[in-house]
Subunit: 291 residues, 2 copies
């Protein structure tokens, strides 16, 4: 039986650590404050924003949610961001993705002051990350690495195969893991939809990170028995037995993969919970950067 | 016998294309203008700067070389960059690397206006590149890709192994080649000094790109017979038979590698010449961005 990498347990540890740090910051007279802008009424986004708000409150971080209507113009969105940029009581700003059609998410991300960019989506912060001088770490990739580190899974000198090349997971994670640093120094392959013979790569890997957004993409026969599998997939599939009408599944076929892998993170209960925990860490970091 | 990828021929083609484009720009009343700052008297840097100056002149690009003494302070260097940022007749600025000890190269690069950053070293431009929305392409990685494209060597769907993870070659090149784009879409592995069993990776590769800065690192027995080898190495080794006292060698042992590979780029006569040609292209791009 593999070791189950427990995102619930680790994320709770981190949230506790953040809470302690927030208390210390408050004792010095500052109050970390995250502002989240949500435009429109996407139900998934509303759940995410609610979860972030709740996590902030539990950690002692002040959280302001700004709801803007579906009809918001680009100018109105940018003006709202600018108002928060100017607000000295706000340390972190994020614009919940996706924004309604017709609005540019890129322009919104770029309008956030780089020191308040707790999602690490601003090109300047992406660049600093790639150059090995990160200001913030993007939450999901940082959560993946945190899980590996806290389970004492070696990264340096290991062979990591990342499946997926998104701007928020695959690409930054590849850069972070290949970096000459304490938590990097791995040999890293980025695979994607254009890769021929995916199993050839995953079979060799010490660590497989699935972040392609395709349910069941990674199966047990594509793995070796010493490997660690981290599942970043968060796919909603219809499920009539659930009250919500859907189930959340990863990119890994847990049933077959868990019979082969040495360590595996489940969905739900894995990386998803880490993302919010790492966001909280970035809020603390942003507060320090602006003090 | 392999096909020799001729950087001299391809770079001459590109320089001719740039020359034509510069004429058209001049006919519209603009004069592309590159300003190069060189601090101190490193002999290698002086050769590079001289070559860039000559290449600009041949292409019809105005070139200003600003020589600053070894004793230049950080403030003086930044003030000089700022002067060029403000100068509307200057479209491209570069600070020749390395700068003397005690000066921060990073701060100098970051002080260049992103629209004039023809080296693509500014964090904002590095970020845009990684996000798949490049403003400029870094010259050496772009030169590698241009060689592959002009020799009709397929990139999409192929397996590329990059040896080296520098900020100016390995890392941006990995991002560019993995990108979902016409000149990308490869499966990419980044290997480096921390990689165990380098030959295992290179042997599988359709394209091997050597950019580690270690003479003779890649030998014929590490390659397969269908592969293309691009040598980015520019190592100086002592050579008493040369007037300069040194020879320029790559990271690839050409003697053994050329007996195995299907296509191979030599050093000198390969990527090195492409770097300056691609820099000229960036000067034209910068002029357009500011017009």
């Amino acid at each position: 039986m593999p070791t189950i990498i427990d995102g619930k347990k680790i994320s709770a540890e981190i949230r506790q650590e953040v809470k302690t740090e927030v208390s210390e910051i408050k004792a010095r007279g500052m109050e970390p404050h995250l502002a989240v802008i949500i435009v429109g009424s996407d139900p998934g986004s509303q759940v995410y924003v609610r979860n972030k708000h709740k996590a902030c409150e539990e950690a002692g971080i002040r959280s302001t949610v700004i709801e803007m209507p579906e009809t918001t113009t680009q100018e109105q969105l940018l003006a709202q961001v600018e108002k928060l940029n100017q607000d000295k009581t706000v340390h972190g700003i994020l614009v919940q993705s996706p924004v309604p059609k017709g609005l540019s998410e890129e322009k919104a991300f770029e309008s956030i002051h780089p020191l308040k960019d707790v999602d690490c989506f601003h090109p300047q912060n992406v660049g600093l990350l790639m150059l090995g001088r990160p200001r913030f770490l993007p939450a999901t990739p940082a959560g993946v690495i945190e899980l590996l580190v806290r389970y004492n899974i070696k990264i340096s000198g290991q062979y990591v195969v990342i499946v997926g090349r998104s701007n928020i997971v695959g690409k930054p994670l590849a850069g972070m893991l290949a970096q000459k640093s304490e938590r990097g120094n791995a040999t890293v392959t980025v695979c994607h939809t254009g890769t021929k013979g995916l199993a050839y790569y995953t079979k060799q890997a010490d660590i497989v990170i699935a972040a392609a957004g395709r349910p069941g993409l990674i199966t047990g026969d594509m793995l070796n028995s010493n490997c660690t599998v981290i599942d970043v997939g968060t796919n909603r599939i219809p499920d009539a037995t659930k009250k919500s009408g859907y189930s959340l599944v990863g990119d890994v076929d847990f049933e077959s993969a868990s019979k082969v892998a040495a360590n595996i993170s489940p969905v739900p209960g894995g990386v998803g919970l880490m993302t919010i925990a790492m966001l909280l860490k970035n809020c603390v970091m942003a507060t320090k950067l602006q003090s």
